[in-house]
Amino acid sequence: MNGKSCCGDIETAGDKMTGFHEIEERLKSEAFRLLQAGEVSVVLAYGKGTDERHPVPFAALTTADVENIVFNEHCTHNMARYLLRYPSGTKIAVALKGVDSRAVVVLIQEGKINRDNLVILGIPTNSMRNQQNGQIIDARTTCGIANPVLFDILLGEEVHEATVASPYDVLAPYEAMDEDARWNFWKTELDRCIRCYACRKACPMCYCDPCFIDVTKPRWANKSPQLAGNLMYHLTRFQHLAGRCVDCGECSRVCPVAIPLYLFHKKVAKDCEEMFQQTAGMRIEDKPVIVDFRVEDSDKILE
């Protein structure tokens, strides 16, 4: 192995990291084994897209499908979003990167999925790249953790970095703005929203049926993409995801008009960590912060 994967060079921050090619081989081998033994009915992973830079989500149902599985630095989709779309009780194997596994922890905490029905194929990596612009995906646009927090089989060496950036550093310029400047920023960004709901579709935690925005009694907002409705939709969504969003950044990556939703979700996550001393999706035993309380919660959080 000369360190060059079939999909391009991998930048390693410090320690040796398992190459994407090797991860792909192991992923295919595990998928084949699980499907052949009948341990799972579906393997959720990634498949070939139109080219190397655009892999797609892929569900392998038979051993013949396994051939189509790929893994490279552009496999950015959070496969946890598909888990709830299968009938309850389906045995599913799913390929999860670090942050994706946190989403599964939240789903288990919320009682939406049974741990026993999952075979988690964990992928440790810190070298993912944005499909649109090829940039490295790091703590500036996502939670930044490289290693899955939950897994059955690890498909590569755990990544150990010398320094781990805080996922909230990127908020500093926005927190420093005065209120009017922040309003102008968000007003401009949210005005672009076309209410395609790709953000909702891409989010593993947006599983409500019906979603509040689709309800007519009460009707929270009109369907047309005007600022007032966009605000109601997004601000309410930030509230509904408080303490649940794991900062995977998918919502922002799928947005057709590039609204930096991840900034707001990071801000809410940061505030929830400070107010309630708990991080979303880290331990199965935790209760999501908004469905929990402590009598000793401080009134200072309301200031």
Binding site: W183, L231, T236, V295
Partner: protein, 138 residues
Amino acid sequence: MDFEPKILGIACNWCTYTGADLAGTTRLKYPQNLRVIRVMCTSRINPSFIIRAFQLGADGVLIGGCHPGDCHYNTGNLYARRRLAVTKKILNFAGLEAKRLRVEWISASEGNKFAEVVREFTAQIRNLGPQTKFKISP
């Protein structure tokens, strides 16, 4: 034309609403800008109510409930405290002036406190001026 704030009040039935009633029966003077909606508990409050209120032209929103530990339903206001804290952070980050939303714990016997909070809050909102950011213009 002097600006008269429109303030939405959401008060829990068992504590704040009763406290407001006490303020009335004891003939305490407080500004008339507050329009009160009664809910049975602050945990009934959907954060989207608050966004809606600002969109419909509210200049301020004042929420009153039982003191934590004294909720008529034991734990309602404990959930509400967390939920509304998040709402405040969201409105603040979106750029709406944080002072326009206020949450107070006012018990049934605190008629004086109710009047005082309303006086203080109305004055603050009057200083902040009309809320224009979220308000939907026809």
